[in-house]
């Protein structure tokens, strides 16, 4: 089973997120990036499939940030066969443009499955997998929590509200939006990442950012306003209960 995994970096929440001067975006000059957590799960699921069925695993990384190289070398160290960096500035790309770039990189390539994270910290609509599948004209399932190869087709498990799950059989080639891999993304030793780095098996494809056809534009971005500090209620059960009732009453509940 040949798979391709689409990887996107997202702003690293470890750093304090600040807005740029005109308030239209994060201030990306001082931002660090990490791999989108859901994409990490997509990679893990693809590695599990490769271990079970053989085949090749290719990772496509979008964006030219320094961190992207690290992310791709990590994927190689984990067991990916090929890593391609699709160089561009990520922040100026709408989700439709992102899908466009991935699709152009996928065209002419033979694969059974494309896996990517069901959503990203900065893309909660869950559009990437859907759009890539639509543009390629192939089947798609999202919110996938496990996949297995089944005689030329693929069986996937999708999660619904309330923990209900359903199994689907899907014709390949297909696109999967991964919610969670069957197991937590594996750890890869730094020494192996360094080895991959020294191997330097990273290819780069320059892409021209396609025109933005999304019809959606950011007007302004705001950070949440800090609320007032929590009030700690002191004293024994009796005193605490009285105090809680007082607060509820004062809020207008009779």
């Amino acid at each position: 089973m040949d798979s391709v995994v689409l990887l996107r970096p997202v702003p690293d929440p470890v750093e304090e997120l600040e807005l740029n001067d005109d308030g239209s975006d994060l201030d990306r000059d001082y931002l660090g990036y990490v791999l989108n957590e859901f994409d990490d799960h997509a990679l893990e699921e693809a590695l599990l499939l490769k271990e079970a069925t053989g085949g090749t695993l290719t990772v496509l990384g979008l964006g030219s940030a320094d961190e992207m190289e690290q992310i791709l070398y990590t994927a190689l160290a984990k067991g990916a066969d090929e890593a391609i960096k699709l160089g561009d500035e990520l922040e100026h790309l709408s989700i439709s443009s992102q899908a466009e770039i991935f699709v152009s990189a996928l065209e002419g390539r033979s694969f059974d499955l494309v896996l990517t994270g069901v959503q990203a910290a900065d893309e909660l609509n869950g559009q990437l997998a859907v759009r890539v599948a639509a543009k390629l004209g192939i089947p798609h399932v999202s919110v996938v929590v496990g996949a297995s190869a089944d005689n030329g087709s693929v069986k996937v498990t999708k999660e619904f509200w309330g923990g209900i799950t359903a199994d689907y059989q899907i014709q390949t080639p297909a696109v999967l939006g991964i919610q969670a891999a069957r197991q937590a993304p594996r750890y890869v030793a730094v020494s192996l990442i360094r080895q991959a780095q020294q191997g330097g098996d990273l290819s780069e494809t320059d892409v021209d950012p396609p025109p933005d056809t999304s019809g959606v534009r950011v007007i302004s971005v705001r950070v949440p306003e800090a609320g007032e500090g929590a009030e700690m209620i002191e004293g024994d059960e009796e005193a605490a209960a009285t105090k809680i009732v007082e607060i509820i009453r004062s809020a207008g509940v009779k």
Binding site: D12, K78, Y187, V188, A189, V190, S191
Partner: protein, 606 residues
Amino acid sequence: MFWGFLVLTVATAIIAIDVDVIGLFLGRPDLQFWNGAFYQGYSLIVDVFSIGFVSGLVYLGWRRRNPPLKLSYDRVDREEGGYDRKGYSIDDRAFLFVLLFIAITGFLLEGFRIAAVDFPSFEIFSIAGWTIGQAVSFLGVDGAETARVLFWWTHALAALTFIAFIPYSKAMHMVTDVIGLLVTDQDSARALPEPVGAPSDDLLSLFTWKDLVDHDACTKCGRCHDVCPARATGAPLSPRDLILDLRELADASSGIDLWYGPGAEPNTTTGAVAGDYIAAETLWACTTCMACMEVCPVGIEHVPTIVQMRRQLVEVGDVEAGLQTAFQSLTRAGNSFGKSAKQRARWTKGLDQEIKDARSEPVEYLWFVGDHASFDPRATEVSTSVARLLSHAEVDFGLLYEAEKNSGNDVRRAGEEGLFEMLREQNLEALASAEYSQIITTDPHSLNTLRYEYELEGTVIHYTELLDRLVADGSLAVSGLSGIATYHDPCYLGRYQDEYEAPRRLIHATGLDLHEMGRCRENSFCCGAGGGRIWMDDSGLEERPSENRIREAVALGDNVRYFVVACPKDMVMYSDAVKTTGHEDRLQVVDVAQLVERAMTGVPVG
């Protein structure tokens, strides 16, 4: 045992040389020296040693009737049954019995010989032989002579049997220990050796010949089993069992067929040595506290052996969940707290004066603060105390601010060698950008790694050493505290760095009385945080090592009010443990620096 055995072997050998080689083969009885006062003195000494030897053997045999914990071969890392080590206890007893048999026949032989020559007066110095001779004098001279010949052969055959038995038994330690002790490196836990080999199911490729000699040297004395904090708190690790497992595997993979006791099977788990044959949980349980190496009489290096196998686990990605999170944070941000590097010096904000940035101006002391002392609120309180004390004493010091990364001590001991190297490179680069004459650390774990694994030119000291100097030279005037304290020696300050006195002198200087716990100084009991354990889940333990330790302190008596620490990780572990054991009201966990500050400013303690 050892000396008794040695003296008797030498004594017998000398008689053989004297009588048989010089007297018979060379035919020069005039050169025999086994006579006169020399003989008498020698007889006395040999007999005294023999009596000691026999008494020792009888005592050891008696002790095994109801063996103490360290002599029990019950496994802590797997279910009993099928695989056990009853063969070992049988071997232990057989070893004692054979030695006792040889010693007793030796005594009888001596007695019969003295009786057979009708008690010449000079033989009175062979006190044991004389007594036995008297007891058997009813046999008469001829009868005693017959018995002597009989026992001479019995004694000689028993001794030869014993020699043949050596390679198959515990007695082999007489040979392996000598080699083990000759090649032992007691610094190998301080400066860990480089990794050997890739993950494999072939034991022999995972270890150096030196490690293998180590495994063969184990005498099964069980001291490490006794002192191990992991074993003591219900973790599936016993250093002794681990070493014996590796020895058994080495023997088995070299085609040596061992006997494990009636009905007992060896560990037949196949697969990777680290992770399958030795379970991952067993390897992750080690706190690298080095108590095992401290008590080992034959110089076995358990900690490097365990780290070597942890490296194999990391390489195949078999990493404990909490550890994995820590490694990822460390890779991303250089600290295990998952905080931005820019927040590293945030704890300094509450100070009256800003601490120098050693990267932009020269300082005398460069303070390498460490992760916990920078990010954990319980430990940053101590860091602010240290900062105020140093400022008060007008010490010229500075920080590396966001350029400081985790020193990598715990990372390396958790088996992530590549990450350790990365952190070391980053720190060395930062240190190279600063101008300083000495480094001080808060964390003893960082102290160890900066001292032993960074190959720095300047000296690296612990903050307690610097505070001790400042109190001694009068830069810090302290006194006036009263009450009773006990002090916990951090493993990485005590056993690892041999620093026991500076913190104690500081405690005394504050005016507090120090009551020692039973397990103190080089026998200190680990808090359970070392070797990466602080990042791992310890919910599976019967009791956390830190709780065990707090109970020990509480048992010292009601009047002990302060549990004094000198390590940020201890502050974190014991602040928790006094709460979880319900002793928060009785025992206050306090750092040496906090005590010094209180004694200086005259604020009453607690």
